[in-house]
Symmetry: C2
């Protein structure tokens, strides 16, 4: 009861050619007389021959498989990225091995190693947590890696992102312009490079530009989920903030509902801007104003870059910045 009943040999015998010829037609090599090619193709479909990708991978040293490291498929932001990745991967005939890392360094190392063992042709990395150990492993491995919707200030890998600094700076400026003196920066774990080295920097720049002094107590962090956001409600209020830039839609939804439940009227008494423009932003009442970013495209472009890298092509630009925007909804005035 083998997975594989018939092999290239069976086809060769049946078509009265050598296995090399069968291999040629299967791989679209043009050096085959169209007559024999047709004969082979006929036998292939008659026998239902399906090339064994494992054997092919061993012989050719290419698996047409890439590894995708994702913090959590369950996160809407990352799953949208993954969708973009998968669509262009399928387009280029690559399969995807997906592995959740939970943003844990040890798990990341583990799945990375196992991906290398599987001889993937490339790796797409999503996540914002790495230590020097991981960075070193990435750089010393011989497979191309590209970061999708994820940044590491000190990494030299290729990546696709938006300009997080400017995006956050812009929305913070909007809030400041609306006369808010105390704008909270509601963030995920501050040790994540994307928060510390990018979004927070944008936030500070806007404050600077407006001559507002940075206040550490307005930087409020928690996990990227609804419950955490909800629990932050009282903390944000306690800090006397009257507006907030939130780095995650789930958190923003939680914060919004907490404020509403506490009798704070949004946007009249408090304004909120979130960053990912996921479908959540439209489900909450009022709907969430948000930075917009082409999440799907981030994934798609990253995958496209990876195909080039795997094809030993040079990348004109290693760090790709896609355009962002802003959509005003009900949580801002």
């Amino acid at each position: 009861m083998d997975k594989q009943a018939i092999t290239i040999y069976d086809v060769a015998r049946e078509a009265k050619v050598s296995m090399a010829t069968v291999s040629r037609v299967v791989n679209g090599n043009t050096n085959v007389r169209s007559e024999t090619k047709q004969r082979v193709e006929e036998v292939i479909s008659r026998l239902g021959y399906r090339p064994n990708a494992v054997a092919r991978g061993l012989a050719s040293r290419k698996t047409t498989t890439i590894g995708v490291i994702i913090p959590d498929v369950t996160d809407v932001y990352f799953s949208e990225l993954a969708r973009g990745i998968d669509d262009v991967a399928q387009m280029y005939k690559y399969q995807i091995i997906l592995a959740n890392s939970d943003e844990s360094n040890s798990k990341t190392v583990e799945v990375f190693e196992s991906l290398l063992g599987k001889q993937v042709d490339g790796i797409l990395f999503m996540g914002n947590m790495f230590d020097d150990n991981i960075r070193a492993k990435f750089e010393s491995s011989n497979v191309p890696v590209v970061f999708a919707g994820s940044v590491d200030a000190t990494s030299t890998e290729a990546s696709v992102n938006i300009d997080y600094v400017t995006a956050v700076e812009e929305v913070t400026a909007k809030l400041v312009k609306n006369k808010h003196k105390k704008v909270a920066f509601v963030s995920g774990p501050i040790e994540h490079s994307i928060n510390q080295d990018y979004k927070l920097v944008g936030y500070k720049r806007a404050l600077d530009a407006a001559g507002i002094e940075f206040d550490e107590s307005l930087v409020i962090t928690a996990d990227y989920d609804y419950q955490s956001g909800y629990q932050l409600g009282s903390i944000v209020l306690g800090a006397k903030a009257t507006a907030a830039v939130v780095v995650d839609d789930e958190m923003a939804a939680g914060l919004l509902n907490a404020l509403t439940d506490a009798g704070v009227s949004v946007p009249d008494d408090f304004e909120i801007v979130t960053t990912n423009n996921s479908h959540l932003t439209v489900i909450t009442r009022p709907q969430l104003s948000s930075i917009t970013q082409p999440i799907y495209d981030l994934g798609a472009v990253a995958m496209r870059m990876l195909t080039k890298l795997m094809n030993d092509e040079e990348l004109p630009i290693k760090t790709m910045i896609l355009p962002h925007g802003y959509v005003k909804r009900g949580t801002t005035k």
Copy 2:
């Protein structure tokens, strides 16, 4: 610039043993003197040897890789299932090749074939769309397949689900008990077996039990997303329904907001029950009452079943039914 610098031969030479011995220690074969075993292990870690899974797969005919067919990673229901799958897969040292099908028959066939080509040891299928063609392919393939959170009334594959019929019957009964004569059944595509052969059946049973005649015009279908749900608002109202059982949380959120925006007060003038109890149910205002189901566990158990199948163990029960429940929130009285 090979992916694989050092092979089993290198280790063998360095440790002054044959490659067979190295293979034995790598595979945990006990027939190795502990002394030589240690020597080999020392060399392995010193050289940083990492077994080539592709070569191993070719030689052993096992890839420790499974295929996961998912309608759309972006869907919260399925991504939660996928998370359960991945977690126990990692536990059993299996890798996952993920492929989106978009519930399209042609795409499903395509990814299924490509998964077989990759010599996966098993396949986990999520989705509710299949024609006889796919069914036949599943059944004639030599790799085990299990359905996770997905049903096909005429399939003989192993599967893990909840009792959709009863679950929907129960909540419909609740609504009927609240004096509603016209309860809408808001469904995804009715050609999906899960809707047609399960949930709709439960809905009808509850009606029957209450002596209410089934009214075709109260079966309202659309796509499984927020926008579709929102657009259904006027249709549901047009059908004079005063309550609805909705088969998808995104749709339910859309319907809820549409009704609210139309000035219909939920739950006073209209009651809604949804089915997946995803985090969306808690974000909407009022919060959505919902059937509860152990989505993560559905995936986890399905993966566990698959490991048994791949291990040629018999399954005591082919169709696993996990318990469901109900949580009352703000959209019901």
